[in-house]
């Protein structure tokens, strides 16, 4: 009797069984489905549609009247846009090496067993959390204005500081400095990599008479090249997308000396409503970043050391 009852309760309709099996077989897919939907709607669709728009004269209020490559030809014939590309390259090639150098240098120092090291690690990481915020950009502006903190300090030493924000020679440097100051996240990654370098190697090198510099360049650097490579690529991508700093601090001025391409994309899209042109500029920037990333990947076989590849 009891056996019969059990049999009755475990009977599942054939249709339900099929659904259950389907669920079981595809449970992973269902877990990523929310992300997938979000990705398609908020990333893939805008990504694809912006490519189409880049080949049109799409105006936010007038719509599309023609298709063609006019936006791309306009970009190359517009001195203002070409200057913005130039400034963006300058910005990226200034900030990325300096930021990586600063991050590696500080990480190297913080890797030593020094008193209060945890405090210093936290302190150096804080700018990374704050650095991208508008509040810090506003503070940066206040520090570097004509009568700001820096010029006041310089004044104590009898030095007349320049107009940091309005001198075309200095403004970009100030924007770069803000980005370099946010070296914390790269530093933490370097620190983790440095921790992974075996102490035995340093000991052996020391026995062989290698000094600290020699150890750094002959052991540390080669062994953390995969992390340097990772940081290089991510920082390069971030640098080409920089927006906050110049937008808040200089609005792209003076005389376009801090007008990065992202500012022009924003301005064309949301102030002049020329979505087609803005899309073309964004795509051109994407292609540039992609090419640079590919070059970085190709070049890694010459300088990046992976320990699982027989020491190459």
């Amino acid at each position: 009797m009891a056996k019969n009852a059990n049999t009755t309760t475990t009977v599942v309709p054939k249709q339900n069984r099929g659904f259950k099996k389907f669920l079981k077989d595809n449970i992973g897919f269902f877990f990523i489905l929310p992300w997938l939907i979000g990705f398609i709607i908020f990333k893939l669709y805008p990504f694809g549609s912006s490519l189409v728009y880049s080949f049109s004269d799409y105006h936010l209020f007038n719509g599309i009247s023609k298709f063609g490559i006019m936006n791309y030809t306009d970009i190359f014939s517009d001195a203002k846009i070409m200057k913005a590309f130039k400034v963006t390259f300058k910005y990226a090639f200034l900030t990325v090496p300096l930021k990586l150098t600063a991050a590696l240098f500080i990480a190297y120092i913080l890797n030593f067993k020094i008193k209060g090291v945890n405090f210093f690690r936290t302190a150096y990481y804080i700018p990374s959390i704050l650095g991208g915020s508008i509040a810090i950009a506003v503070l940066w502006k206040a520090i570097f204005r004509n009568e700001g903190l820096i010029n006041t300090l310089l004044g104590y030493f009898g030095i007349a500081g320049p107009n940091w924000l309005s001198d075309t020679k200095w403004a970009l440097f100030i924007i770069c400095l803000l980005r370099i100051w946010q070296f914390g996240s790269a530093m933490v990654i370097f620190l983790a990599a440095l921790k992974g370098v075996s102490g035995d190697l340093y000991e052996a090198a020391a026995i062989d008479g290698a000094g600290k510099w020699r150890q750094f360049f002959s052991i540390t650097i080669p062994l953390i090249t995969p992390v340097i490579f990772y940081n290089l690529v991510t920082q390069l991508c971030q640098a080409f997308q920089e927006f906050n700093g110049p937008f808040v601090i200089t609005k792209g001025g003076p005389r376009g000396s801090t007008t990065l391409i992202s500012l022009l994309v924003y301005s064309n899209a949301f102030k002049s409503y020329q979505m087609g042109l803005a899309s073309a500029m964004a795509w051109l920037m994407f292609i540039i970043v992609m090419v640079l990333t590919i070059i970085a990947f190709i070049s890694q076989k010459h300088w990046v050391y992976y320990s699982d590849e027989e020491g190459r």
Binding site: G38, K141, F243, F247
Partner: protein, 457 residues
């Protein structure tokens, strides 16, 4: 139990992903949001276009948006609350914020038909966003609700585009000089009443007060407005009329030369100096606040903002137009702002009721006072005057502007391609001239080409 756990896990994952997606994951997205909130935090209540046409309790729901400062927000919210009290069948959901980034936000909402039902608009938005009349409703159709007889027809005509009255003009505005009388007294001179006196003041400020003191400060766009005022005074014709720029290259050069002469004569600081001050606008510039810069050429409606920025003990006075600028009364006035009803609004009658309450009904007028300038509505002005609600400085400035200016402004004057900071033509030309990148001829050519480009010529 296992099923429930899976379902909950799925639900949580979905919620998390969608909430993250809604926040925006790209850096530039967050940058835009942050930047908008930069000047003064954008305050937004829960007004969205998705609001139901009627609320759960059967009320008609309309949305209303505006930009402005804190005092305008407080006055408008009080007026809206009063309106809802008097019209219990209507619920008004509001959204408001600072000007910084507001135009971009509204442009996107107009383009996607998700704008608020009732919108405070800048005058040039009519031509920018609704030149074919597609964005805003024709308010002539609601003349039984909005008392249009309260407004001069000539003012209503300024808001009529594509044969539709697309907005009700709230007030008129124009640029006028304001002086920090205290600084002038410190320099031992009285505030200038003529161009000659202003030029002399430049020299006096330099010798008596020091190099960093200037009798007037103007940004790039201010320079453009000042130049047009000068040109209209000299040549007696508007800047743009019937879609055509009215000035030749030589005449424009004369105007640019005038601006440059002010810089050369120590009347105005260079663009480099003002930019280096690191302030977003003149009212936030410590040198204006402290009286180092002693004059501005501003909208009459901005008087209170500029006055309240000054540190204690400084006297702020409304200036006069200069009679020696030229043979004509130069300078222009324009519609300061207006109220429009979105074409996509579902309850346009309720929207019209709200507009009429804010502009023409005593209770609304008393609460709104002169927060949006000196009212154009006859009843509005009467109620404000009778109840002493007008700011004395704004009223004085506005009466001087309206009494003096004879030219109107073409809406394209404020086109984004010209007025954008930093890539608009006005900024390029005025900065270029001040930094020495342009000579007068090159600057005039760039300006004319830019203006003609916008005019489609």
């Amino acid at each position: 139990m296992k099923k429930t756990k899976k379902f909950v896990a799925f639900l949580m994952a979905s919620t998390m992903v969608f909430s993250m997606a809604a926040c925006g994951t790209s850096k530039s997205d967050s940058a835009t949001t942050d930047a908008t909130a930069n000047d003064s935090a954008t305050e937004t209540t829960d007004a969205t276009k998705d609001a139901a046409e009627t609320s759960a309790d059967g009320k008609t729901v309309i949305t209303f948006s505006w930009w402005g400062g804190d005092s305008r927000h407080e006055a408008t919210i009080a007026a809206v609350d009063k309106f809802m009290e008097l019209n219990p069948d209507i619920e008004v959901q509001t959204s408001f914020g600072a000007w910084d980034g507001w135009e971009e936000k509204m442009a996107t909402s107009f383009a996607t038909s998700t704008a608020s039902d009732v919108t405070q608009i800048n005058w040039n938005w009519i031509t920018s966003f609704s030149s074919d009349g597609s964005a805003f409703a024709d308010l002539n159709q609601y003349s039984s609700i909005i008392d249009l007889t309260q407004f001069d027809q000539s003012k209503l005509d300024l808001c009529t585009v594509a044969d539709k009255l697309q907005a009700i003009p709230v007030s008129m505005t124009g640029r006028i000089f304001y002086w920090n009388k205290t600084t002038f007294e410190k320099a031992g001179i009285s505030v200038p009443t003529s161009l000659e006196e202003l030029k002399k003041a430049g020299e006096t400020f330099k010798t008596v007060l020091g190099d960093e003191y200037y009798p007037l400060v103007v940004g790039e766009y201010d320079r453009m407005v000042l130049m047009v005022y000068y040109l209209e005074s000299v040549y007696g014709k508007p800047w743009v009329e019937n879609g055509e720029l009215q000035y030749t290259a030589e005449e424009v050069q004369t105007g640019l030369e005038f601006i440059q002469s002010l810089e050369d004569d120590h009347v105005i600081p260079s663009v480099e100096t003002v930019t280096g001050d690191g302030a977003d606008s003149i009212d936030k510039n410590p040198k204006w606040m402290g009286g180092v810069y002693a004059g501005i050429f501003e909208w009459d409606s901005s008087a209170t903002k500029m006055q309240s920025a000054l540190t204690e003990g400084q006297e702020f006075v409304v200036g006069d137009y200069f009679k020696d600028m030229g043979d004509y009364q130069g300078g222009f006035s324009k519609v300061s702002l207006g109220f429009a009803i979105s074409e996509s609004a579902k309850n346009k009658e309720a929207c019209a009721k709200l507009i009429n309450f804010l502009l023409n009904e005593e209770e609304g007028i008393k609460l709104m006072a002169s927060e949006r300038g000196i009212p154009l509505s006859k009843t509005g002005l009467q109620v404000c005057t009778d109840n002493n609600l007008l700011n004395a400085t704004v009223a004085e400035a506005n009466s001087k502007v309206l009494a003096w200016t004879q030219f109107s402004l073409d809406p394209t004057f404020e086109d984004a391609k010209l007025k954008n900071n930093p890539d608009g033509i006005y900024y390029d030309v005025m900065q270029g001239l001040s930094y020495g990148d342009y000579d007068l001829a090159a600057a005039a050519t760039a300006l004319i080409e830019g203006v003609n480009g916008v005019l489609g010529n």
